[in-house]
Symmetry: C2
């Protein structure tokens, strides 16, 4: 069995911790059982898959902007397929399936289970996934969904209406219902409808047959290059609702969507993270401070407070679902990112009316990594090394890095930096071409 | 008449906006009448003295750490006398009076009124000051205090018990009472006691006669050098309580101590300052954001929220008097300061176990000022000029400043920077002698 993990979204519901490159699944906030460590939703689901002994290789379908964060968080133990552009779930799943077929040479009857990377679940969820895989391999249906037992009449999820029983916990599907309103949801639930949790299994050939109606080639690279040949449509619309043989396997365990602050903080076990001072009189207040400066909270009830280089949030807990509307308007370049080589934080970004800009970042470069400054056209970069060891290479010369060393990189000259221990660097970029900075991949190879 | 304004205190009751160098009287938060501008308590009191046509020269008695902020806020229109060390109000007033006597050559019968710079008052307050001056010149008493009509039984103030009537609103003093508890305060008020607001007038010779029991010299500089010859004691203990001829002039107008967040925010007129997004549903919530990053507030009631480079505060309004206890424990070097030449903000301060440190600051240098880096022993300084024009001088050579210019100043070499327009500079300091940085005066002349 192959698992495709969908890692999408650049949601602003967890602003200011989530940003354009740091989706909610990358926040290292969740407590690990029997450990002081914290892990992200992505790290948690990969660990859970391993612990459930599914023994299935994982392929992550994502966008290019998430490649660095995924590599940094779970290393080399998964394959990553990146979409050249965001097009919706159907194209993303097609591309990942073609990767399994053309690059990993999986057979057409290989069982594939697709799942999101962000629900907060327990072991039973992975047993159900295992069961879906088994039913697919036994041809119980072409397409088998997981149906989550609803706990309230949500208008945020799609619903699946089961029909004839096929196995003890599996039914054929009568109908898929898109997000209903709350009244409709109540009615659906009283009639036995289940939430569509975005988990489904099929045989690889079943999906590639549909995919190849749009894009067909022997070469995966060519398929990827022709990615805009797939229609911008969801998997549910393009595949599930048209399918003639669909089933749903019921799951009745722990399943939370930690997509908003009020739901996320309930799973954090502790009420405070980071440099925080309180008078101990706060009631039901959760505080996360990712900034270096102290945060003090005196009294207060039922709040979520979160501070990061992207901003500061103070919200009543029961209103925290509303922040998206306001956070979307605050969108600007991420002020913090996790990259393959480490992390950076923007400390100052000054933009002037004539187009000139200056950006000062604190870079934390991980030992063993190498980064290169290339293709610097209209920018000047000054690096102030403040901690760690390594070397800097410029054309044919190599120089050791030491504390207090300052290097200015003139335009059109390439440098590479090799970190032998963790490096801290204050980088000042000035120039007149800020818009290139939206894609810092150009700067770091 | 001469006015001595006492500018003291490095209180933490308005943390994180106030810090060791930025006392509450320097916060530019107060609305100016008929203007969009904001002013500090110090700027307000100096403006009010001018508007009341007191026509009295002002001498500010303060500590060396406040010299830059005072000069930056009210320019050259006042004299500033700095204590070489903090010793309490009696020595500070002695030094200021000796300055009036020896440097400004005031006569012994010159009337002097001493007042604090931080109460929030209206015009009647200054009329009362004028009246105190008149009564002193008429020898109604040697020492005449302002007695504030109490509005509640405060345990934060000293009380003055009036006795025989001398003029319509002026009485001889029966007794000074130090801060009482609330029950005692209630009793005092019912017996006609007044608050001691720290405003008092006397003839210059009256005070210098007392001062010269401790330090006497013809030279003001020598008096200042022998400042530790004055006892560490308050004016009330050393002078007022021992005086044989004291009076109190009643003041029954607006007089607020804006020393805590709950009292200050009531005078701000608007509920938000700075980069703030709200859903408009907050009730009785005041937000001040001095950081560049956005602050979002959704819902919430009865809070004060304040963010600065020194930290972030979220407090229930009625508990805001309690923050001092916690803020005192958070004390570290100021992360923001107003200086003669402009302002700076610390963006990163990294300290390592072996004593090495790196500090990155954003300097805003005002047009027309010159600053010098001198006496740099164990530090290396890199300046990244990001906006503005001027020139940098190093020994005999002069170089124009331009955007994108990077200058490293090696140890033991002096540089001076002359700003012809406002300059923005990212400065990176590395070295092994962080403790010197507590007095950035060494760096900037």
């Amino acid at each position: 069995m192959q698992i495709i993990l969908l890692s999408g979204g650049s949601g602003t519901r967890l602003w200011p911790l989530s940003n354009d490159s740091r989706s909610k699944q990358f926040l290292r906030l969740l407590p690990k059982e029997n450990s002081e460590e914290r892990e992200s939703m992505l790290q948690r689901v990969v660990r859970q898959i391993r612990e459930a002994n599914l023994n299935s290789p994982i392929t992550i379908a994502t966008s290019i902007t998430q490649y660095d964060a995924i590599t940094s968080q779970i290393g080399e133990e998964v394959d990553i397929v990146t979409e050249p552009e965001r097009r919706n779930t159907f194209p993303a799943i097609c591309l990942a399936c073609e990767f399994l077929s053309k690059v990993k040479k999986c057979a057409d009857d290989e069982v594939v289970v697709v799942m999101p990377c962000d629900p907060f679940t327990d072991r039973g969820y992975f047993s159900t996934i295992s069961k879906i895989g088994k039913y697919v391999s036994e041809n119980l249906a072409n397409l088998i969904f997981m149906g989550i037992h609803p706990t309230y009449p949500s208008s945020k999820y799609g619903y699946i209406i089961p029909s004839t029983k096929l196995e003890q916990d599996t039914f054929s599907v009568r109908k898929f219902i898109e997000k209903p309103n709350t009244t409709e949801a109540e009615k659906l639930i009283s009639n036995g409808a289940l939430w569509n949790g975005g988990v489904f299994g099929f045989k690889l050939g079943y999906l590639t047959q549909i995919a190849r109606k749009y894009v067909e080639s022997e070469s995966f690279d060519e398929i990827r290059n022709r990615y805009n040949g797939y229609p911008k449509i969801s998997f549910d619309y393009e595949v599930a609702e048209k399918a003639s043989s669909t089933a749903v396997t019921e799951f009745n365990g722990k399943w939370y969507d930690l997509g908003t602050w009020n739901t996320l903080v309930e799973e954090l076990k502790t009420n405070t993270f980071g440099n925080i001072t309180t008078d101990g009189k706060g009631k039901n207040t959760h505080i996360i401070n990712e900034l270096d400066i102290p945060l003090m909270c005196i009294g207060t009830s039922n709040l979520v407070i979160a501070a990061s280089p992207d901003g500061i949030l103070i919200t009543e807990k029961n209103l925290s679902e509303n922040i998206k509307e306001y956070a979307d308007k605050l969108k600007r370049r991420p002020m913090y990112e996790e990259r393959r080589w480490g992390t950076y934080k923007v400390m100052d970004l000054s933009e002037y009316p004539d187009g000139f800009f200056a950006m000062t970042r604190l870079l934390k470069i991980k030992a063993g990594t190498t980064i290169s400054y290339t293709d610097i056209n209209s920018r000047k970069i000054t690096l102030n090394f403040i901690d760690g060891q390594g070397e800097i290479q410029k054309e044919d010369t190599t120089m050791p890095i030491q504390r207090g060393l300052t290097i200015s990189i003139p335009k059109n000259l390439s440098h590479s930096i090799k970190a032998s221990t963790d490096l801290s660097v204050v980088e000042v970029i000035t120039g007149s071409d800020i818009y290139d900075l939206g894609i810092p991949d150009i700067l770091f190879m």
